[in-house]
């Protein structure tokens, strides 16, 4: 049971949320113009990333709003969340999911010093 950061309500227990799969998959604007294969990929094919995964969550039991989040799928550590329509934040390239967002920032600062 990890925590999920609702952009409005803050870090909350994962049980309050619904998972919505990979983020940033736009519905094809003209489905009639694309092939069966492209349509099939839109419905069924996902990155299924092992690593930093952009995904959708809804704070079902809380404010009920959908948002996007970045989570490391090896450790289930969430880096950050962001509202629909906003750009994804970029975690550092060396982030292996073994530190949570704030701790990582602290560690990175420590390393600089």
């Amino acid at each position: 049971m990890f925590l999920v950061k609702c952009p409005w309500c803050g870090w909350r227990d994962q049980t309050e949320f619904s998972y919505g799969g990979e983020a940033h998959i736009a519905r094809p604007l003209e489905p009639g113009q694309i092939s069966d294969a492209e349509w099939g990929d839109y419905i069924y094919t996902r990155r299924n990333t092992k690593g930093v995964h952009a995904e959708r969550w809804s704070h079902t039991q809380g404010c009920g709003r959908w948002f996007n989040a970045l989570r490391h799928t090896v450790t289930d550590v969430m880096w950050d969340s962001y509202k629909m329509g906003e750009d994804a934040p970029t975690p550092p390239k060396d982030w292996d999911g073994m530190t949570c967002c704030d701790d990582h920032k602290k560690l990175a600062e420590g390393a600089k010093k």
Partner: protein
């Protein structure tokens, strides 16, 4: 391969068991194999075994990033059944059950395939309709299938609480279903394949593929490049990761699934019992542990852990159906990564890369298919064409819409 038997044990007892030979070698990879199987779980090892045994291809390597049988093979709840709804699935899983029935003998390794019966419970009208359809489907496919009244369910499982939150209205029994010893399946296939010359290479992780002109030529690994005539990928929860290395994507998502066992007790549950409405499945191992599983977490993850609330969501139903277990203790929980397709049916397919074949998407149900999957996949790789039983499971179905939708047929409410 020296034959295992009671006599062999007696003979070795005289020499203090110091003369047993290795079950499999630890070879270094050769520069080139006719077939490289990526993934040393049950399915991969079975594929290698049948390639050697039935297809005459013995220059085969199975490469495994950890220890063989260490993925879902060693993490499942060991259930074997073939009571599937769709004809294509029934053909596939029953093919497996038929192979299971002779497997210990064939491998000369006791996989403890125990046909103790598998019981599906129905708890409401919708469940009754579902098992009605399923039971008849199974029957029409020539597979054993029996409906049980609540009284018959009680006779079979005397400790069950029929009058629970969703009272038991009936059951569907497959007597040929049951369990098998999961580790033994991997070890038995490994030993038999090794004896025919298959190289099983553990602690060897795939890092990439050598692909020339759309044709696979070899595998890059942490133990160097290995040339390959053909590659079969049987990487379960990590199939997407391997596919990414080969430059394409699979219609898969990887979800955590957890299971747990109780402390061992004198056996009182002598069949496998599954329930959809009160979501839990349970059996009791030959060691006496209750082996319990339920549904997976709803988010993708490679963490092999999952969340504790899923465990709670299984223990609650177990106590609802078997209230006497309240004082029984959970001993150990663990998680696996299930590779799940949208129609909850596996993928056995050719890929955009020539001579590269994928076998994945078994979700929560791969263990039971192990011999059947390995068997038809070996034949598909050997021939370069999918075996007729495997053919409906190709990835084309996600473009044509010809899904084999086991999930849709079971999981709807009204």
């Amino acid at each position: 391969m020296k034959k295992y038997s009671i006599f062999a044990i007696a003979r070795n007892a005289r020499t203090h068991h110091e003369n047993w030979e290795r079950a499999w070698r630890s070879p270094d990879p050769k520069p080139h194999y006719d077939v490289v199987i990526v993934g040393g779980g049950g399915h991969g090892l079975a594929t290698a075994y049948y390639l050697a045994k039935e297809c005459g291809i013995t220059n085969v390597a199975v490469i495994e990033k950890g220890w063989l049988g260490g993925g879902n093979t060693g993490r499942n709840t060991t259930i074997v059944r073939s009571n599937y709804l769709m004809d294509e699935s029934a053909a596939l899983y029953d093919h497996a059950v038929q192979l299971w029935e002779d497997l210990s003998d064939e491998l000369n390794y006791n996989v403890m395939f125990s046909q103790r019966g598998l019981l599906h419970l129905a708890h409401n009208v919708h469940d009754m309709q579902e098992i009605g359809r399923r039971g008849n489907s199974i029957y029409m496919n020539g597979i054993d299938s029996e409906f049980l009244s609540p009284g018959q369910v009680k006779d079979m499982v005397p400790i069950i609480n029929l009058n629970c939150r969703y009272p038991v209205m009936g059951g569907l029994l497959q007597r040929r279903g049951g369990t098998a010893r999961h580790d033994a399946v991997a070890w038995g296939y490994a030993r038999a394949a090794d004896a025919m010359g298959v190289d099983i290479i553990q602690n060897c992780e795939v890092t990439g593929f050598k692909i020339e002109g759309g044709v696979v030529k070899g595998v890059e690994t942490t133990r160097g490049s290995i040339g390959a005539g053909k590659v079969g990928v049987v990487a379960a929860g990590h199939s997407s990761v391997v596919a990414e290395m080969a430059g394409f994507r699979m219609p898969l998502e990887s979800f955590p699934l957890q299971a747990f066992v109780s402390e061992p007790m004198k056996p009182i549950v002598d069949c496998v019992i599954m329930s959809n409405a009160i979501h839990a499945y349970i059996s009791q191992s030959d060691k006496g542990e209750l082996v319990i599983g339920g549904s997976g977490d709803p988010f993708i993850s490679y963490s092999q852990r999952g969340s504790f609330d899923q465990i709670e969501h299984v223990v609650g139903p177990v106590l609802e159906l078997y209230p006497i277990f309240s004082r029984v203790r959970m001993l150990r929980q663990w998680g696996g990564i299930t590779d799940v397709t949208v129609d909850r049916s596996p993928i056995m397919t050719k890929t955009p890369v020539e001579n590269m074949f994928f076998n994945c998407g078994w979700g929560t149900g791969g263990f039971k298919a192990t011999p059947g999957s390995g068997h038809v996949f070996a034949h598909s790789i050997a021939k370069g064409e999918m075996h007729p039983i495997a053919a409906p499971f190709s990835m084309d179905r996600f473009h044509t819409g010809a899904l084999i939708d086991e999930a849709a047929a079971a999981a709807v409410a009204h």
